[in-house]
């Protein structure tokens, strides 16, 4: 007992402030969020909030817009996670190739979208995909390449609007994947490849048999982060489509934000966010379990 107290006394100068902040702004809010989800929460006068039982959760499962938002959130993950991963890995493999020069320059160029601001990039894409002949994409497709006769109203239709949102997400995220894989690829001993090449292995099987297994821990980390990022995406939709047309491009995240800060239905929004948390946890659970265990030695 005395020993424990002494240990706490020793560690507390380093731990206490950070711990207090984490308790206040991460752990307590998590618990409070669950609590709020069981109330018709009144943010102006919290003490007058009425208990709601499971009403908010019932609403989640009956609100038709939740289905739309869930569909969009899942599609966002299904499209942008492989999209970013494939683009990033291909870029890393090309830049890492023996014959490619100016590696540092390429890495910097392809990293630019990652370091630029989400809000700026979202508006940029909104203008690139503007209606009529003013939008650069329409101009390229209609007036330069003559692939289509009429300009497309990209943001007027559910699926083209979703496409723009997916494109900006992949465009902005691929460089992040690339940088991590470049670093990992550099740390794989060259001798492994040389040995395999002497045995006559093709580049594709080198990648499949040597590279991928060796960077597996990184792949897990990257995939978890990408899934997490896709399900928690917000600004793309907020700035490009505002969830429109007719709320058909809302994500769970943007929809719950709208419920909270536009309709001030904090209870319902909290119920949605608890469900969203469960969803992310379920989607990444199997990977999370293995992430701690994987260690590779060579």
């Amino acid at each position: 007992m005395r020993k424990a107290l002494k240990q706490y006394a020793q560690v507390s100068p380093y731990l206490s402030v950070g711990l207090a902040l984490t308790l206040a702004f991460v752990l307590y809010p998590m618990v409070k969020g669950m609590y709020i989800s069981f109330f018709h929460y009144n943010v102006i006068k919290p003490e007058t909030s009425e208990a709601a039982g499971f009403a908010n959760y019932k609403h989640v499962f009956t609100d038709p817009l939740i289905l739309t938002a869930l569909r969009n959130s899942l599609l966002m993950a299904a499209v942008t996670v492989p999209g970013q991963w494939i683009a990033g890995v291909i870029l890393a493999l090309i830049i890492q190739a023996k014959t490619v020069r100016l590696k540092v320059l390429w890495r910097l160029i392809y990293y630019i979208p990652v370091i630029s601001s989400w809000i700026v990039v979202s508006y940029l894409f909104r203008f690139l995909f503007a209606d009529g002949h003013e939008g650069l994409i329409n101009y390229a497709l209609v007036d330069v390449l003559r692939l289509i006769g009429e300009p497309i109203g990209w943001l007027q239709n559910t699926w083209t609007a979703n496409l723009v949102v997916w494109l900006v997400s992949i465009w902005k995220g691929a460089g992040w994947v690339m940088v991590l894989y470049l670093a990992a690829l550099q740390s794989i001993p060259k001798s492994l490849y040389e040995a395999a090449e002497i045995d006559g292995a093709k580049p594709a099987s080198l990648f499949h048999r040597i590279t991928l297994p060796l960077v597996r821990p990184l792949t897990l980390y990257v995939i978890i982060n990408l899934i997490n990022g896709a399900i928690q995406a917000f600004i793309q939709v907020y700035a490009i489509t505002q969830g429109g047309p007719m709320d058909s491009t809302q994500l769970l995240n943007t929809y719950l934000y709208k419920q909270a800060f536009q309709y001030f239905d904090f209870g319902y929004a909290s119920a949605i966010s608890v469900c969203l948390g469960v969803l992310i946890f379920a989607l990444t659970y199997s990977q999370q379990r293995s992430i701690g265990r994987e260690r590779i030695e060579y």
């Binding site: 424990a4 240990q7 706490y8 020793q10 100068p13 380093y14 731990l15 950070g18 711990l19 902040l21 206040a24 702004f25 991460v26 809010p29 409070k32 969020g33 709020i36 090309i94 190739a97 014959t99 490619v100 160029i109 392809y110 630019i112 370091i115 630029s116 601001s117 989400w118 809000i119 990039v121 508006y123 940029l124 003013e134 650069l136 101009y139 390229a140 465009w171 460089g175 940088v179 470049l182 670093a183 990992a184 740390s187 960077v215 990184l218 980390y221 997490n228 399900i231 917000f234 995240n253 719950l256 934000y257 909270a260 904090f266 909290s270 969203l276 992310i280 946890f281 260690r295 030695e297």
Partner: protein, 275 residues
């Protein structure tokens, strides 16, 4: 054969530049074209005279400098406090023993997988009860508090890899734990701290949702929120908006270039693969 392959690979990389840099060139051209009361057509962008007028106007107008300064203040404070507190926390998890340490650390890791947006509503109500809504201190506290777990997790890995033998000479000289922390752990993990600094700067400088929710009055706005509202107010001033956006991008790019060497090293030793 291999020359052809090399040429092909370079060609792919060069074609990719159009995709990655193209949109920025478009933004730059729009920012340098005046009289944009409608989105300038691509022809106009090519042929019109170019000027830097929009940059001067964006910088001088609509309290842009105030928002820029707000963002700098909030970002610098967040970065400083995050680095300080997370390196202390990482040190305590890496090199101290105390009851409940493992449990606490697991709880921390668990929170990393819970979506951040879940917390925004209660975080807002907490700030409200502390009377820190629409207050820089409140915003910085929230940024620092919600980012600590991630950076602690990241740094702890580095601290644990530093050989304990390095501590011995300091202990023999009569140095305490703080001396060890200051003269071994901090200098040995500069690459990791540099990487964290970049992440922290980018994340905070660019942060939008929390700033939009917490900062209510105009004078307290940060740049991303100001840019978004500016877009709403002056919907047709495309050149001006893009000029402002480009100015807003400059600090992140500068910070990245400044720390980029460290960034690479940190990734090399922490690419998820143990050497």
């Amino acid at each position: 054969m291999s020359k052809l392959r090399a040429a092909l690979l370079h060609l792919v990389l060069i074609a990719g530049i159009a995709v990655v840099v193209g949109p920025f060139v478009y933004m730059l051209l729009t920012a340098m074209t005046t009289d944009n009361y409608s989105l300038p057509s691509p022809q106009k962008l090519m042929t019109d005279a170019k000027t830097l007028g929009n940059f001067a106007e964006a910088w001088g107008k609509n309290h842009f400098q105030l928002f820029f300064a707000n963002s700098l203040l909030v970002t610098a404070a967040t970065m400083a406090f995050s680095l300080m507190l997370s390196s202390c926390m990482a040190y305590s998890f890496a090199r101290f023993e105390f009851p409940g340490k493992e449990l606490l650390f697991r709880l921390f890791v668990f929170t990393l997988f819970v979506p951040a947006i879940i917390n925004i509503i209660p975080q807002f109500t907490i700030l409200k009860s502390l009377h820190l809504v629409d207050n820089y201190a409140g915003l910085v506290l929230l940024y620092v508090g919600s980012g600590l777990v991630g950076s602690t997790f990241f740094l702890r890995g580095f601290f644990e890899r530093i050989p304990r033998e390095l501590e011995e000479s300091i202990v023999i000289d009569g140095g305490g734990r703080f001396t060890v922390f200051r003269s071994v752990y901090i200098p040995m993990s500069l690459p990791a701290l540099g990487t964290l600094a970049i992440f922290s700067f980018q994340g905070t400088w660019d942060e939008f949702v929390v700033a939009l929710t917490v900062m209510k009055s105009e004078a307290h706005r940060t740049l991303p929120v100001a840019l978004q509202l500016f877009r709403g107010q002056y919907a047709s001033f495309y050149g001006l908006f893009f000029a402002g956006s480009i100015i807003a991008l400059v600090p992140t790019i500068l910070v990245f270039l400044l720390f980029q060497k460290q960034f690479v090293q940190a990734n090399l030793s922490d690419g998820g693969v143990k050497n």
